[in-house]
């Protein structure tokens, strides 16, 4: 009983410390994690605390405020950058078959890849656009709030060990060429065809704190919303709805669902399993 009570108190204390830490990160650096799902954030933060051998989360707050460069460590902890080329190949298959034919009808195609992390899926789209003959009249905005991962995305160089998986995914996604056409192997790296970058702009953009920056025909944002609480999800999908042209498309991660958000009636469902939506031409 006594130990359980102490544990309860410790959990409450930790919750207060996490509030304060996130407040400090926001006030000092402008990164806003306050409306992220807390269970995940808590796990990451306590992990960092333990791996540094600290006694309390408050000591992390001290480091954030007083230790130069420590913010990068925490950013890495709090942002999940797991991605791969043609992640969930069936998503790309549906994109090719259902969405691209409609994109083709535009004289100029603007695509926003929000939360692009290390960029693998941005290049996946660039390749698909190329194969469909659309790349020359496309503009891709690839954004992330984390400058470190964005730098990796900008380089377009990935570990060679991943190529087997990328190739498999590419084939599963309905790719018709040989995937080896799109990279050069060098030592332990696969350097993607640098021409793929021509029409991609990589830029820092924070979905939580920044606003609309362009009107686009397609938004890709996969496995970003899963980290946000309800209020923040509503805010961000509202931002997407504002950024899309009427009839524009939104592609989410396979476990993300517009159904639980306030803008659900702005959209119709293109593919329920792949979570691809189309903004209605007439909003009710």
């Amino acid at each position: 009983m006594e130990t359980t009570n102490n544990l309860l108190k410790e959990i409450q204390t930790q919750d207060i410390e996490i509030d304060l830490l996130l407040e400090a990160v926001f006030k000092r650096y402008g990164y806003d994690f306050r409306d992220y799902n807390r269970a995940h954030i808590k796990r990451r933060i306590t992990h960092r605390k333990q791996s540094l051998g600290l006694n309390s989360i408050s000591e992390l707050q001290h480091k954030i405020l007083h230790e130069q460069g420590f913010i990068e460590v925490l950013l890495r902890d709090l942002s999940i950058n797991v991605t791969e080329m043609y992640r969930d190949p069936s998503f790309y298959n549906v994109m090719r078959k259902e969405v691209f034919p409609l994109l083709k009808t535009y004289p100029f195609i603007k695509i926003w890849h929000a939360g692009c992390a290390t960029g693998e899926e941005v290049y996946s789209f660039a390749i698909m656009l190329k194969e469909e003959g659309l790349y020359a009249r496309s503009q891709i905005y690839a954004t992330d709030f984390n400058p470190v991962v964005l730098e990796t995305a900008r380089k377009g160089i990935y570990p060679i060990a991943k190529i087997k998986e990328f190739t498999y995914n590419y084939q599963q996604s309905g790719g018709t060429h040989s995937f080896s056409d799109y990279y050069i192997a060098k030592y332990d790296s696969a350097i993607l065809d640098q021409n793929l970058k021509q029409n991609i702009v990589f830029a820092e953009h924070n979905l939580v704190t920044d606003s609309v920056f362009a009107e686009v025909h397609l938004i890709i944002c996969r496995n970003v919303l899963i980290y946000f609480n309800k209020e923040l999800q509503n805010k961000v999908v509202g931002l997407f709805s504002e950024s899309l042209v009427k009839g524009g498309f939104l592609g989410l991660g396979s476990k993300e669902n517009l159904m639980f958000t306030e803008v659900f009636d702005h959209f119709e469902i293109v593919d329920p399993k792949e979570k691809i939506y189309k903004k209605k031409v007439q909003l009710a």
């Binding site: 359980t4 309860l8 799902n37 807390r38 269970a39 796990r43 919303l225 899963i226 476990k255 639980f260």
Partner: protein
């Protein structure tokens, strides 16, 4: 410490042999049992929700794969999707992450159990069924430390005994039951929450 008058949720972790065990357990639950059940079963990353579909056809409860942001409701069974960790949030909704594997697993039983323990405290029941590694042992410790009820499948009745044995080895499992006894006990616990406490094992 306040005692729990009523359990609010049940979490289950399992790996090898889990589908069969879950089928036995879920189909044998008494019809009045309506606690939300949240399950992590280790799956291969390409799995496509077959298990939820299959169990849903056999159960009086609604069995589904967990969606991100979904509220946890009674009479529902939520299964972690392949390749995602499943967590319980303070407002009793579910969240998903693709953060690193824990004990080589994603979804991880520990992650589900530990997050659920902090939300439901003494009103949580945690069960470890058949499985081939020790995922879930830390979760069992956490549930126990916060006053929840911990149960392990008797290793003798488990297709693969390693996982329940690892949980038992923590010394924090309150009840060790054969698979067939678990649904009956759950029914009793639901009607009379104290029946599980102070019972010798």
């Amino acid at each position: 410490m306040k005692t729990c008058n009523k359990y609010k949720a049940l979490v289950i972790g399992t790996s090898a042999g889990g589908l069969k065990a879950l089928k036995t357990l879920i189909t044998a639950l008494p019809s009045g049992f309506c606690l939300p059940i949240i399950i992590v079963q280790h799956l291969n990353p390409q799995s496509d929700g077959f298990m939820a579909h299959y169990l849903n056809q056999l159960s009086h409860m609604n069995v589904k794969e967990a969606d991100s942001g979904e509220p946890i409701r009674s009479n529902h069974v939520y299964i972690a999707p392949a390749n995602y960790h499943l967590l319980v949030e303070k407002d009793e909704t579910l969240s998903l992450t693709v953060s690193e594997k824990v004990s080589y697993a994603r979804p991880s039983i520990d992650i589900l159990f530990e997050s659920a323990a902090e939300v439901y405290m003494q009103c949580l029941i945690g069960i470890i069924l058949t499985g081939a590694n020790d995922d879930g042992s830390n979760g069992i410790k956490k549930i126990h430390s916060l006053g929840g009820l911990t149960i392990a499948q008797h290793p003798e009745s488990a297709e693969v005994p390693i996982m329940p044995q690892a949980a038992i080895n923590t010394g924090k499992v309150e009840m060790i039951l054969h698979l067939e006894e678990i649904p009956k006990m759950l029914g009793e616990l639901c009607n009379n929450p104290q029946s599980g406490k102070h019972k010798s094992i």
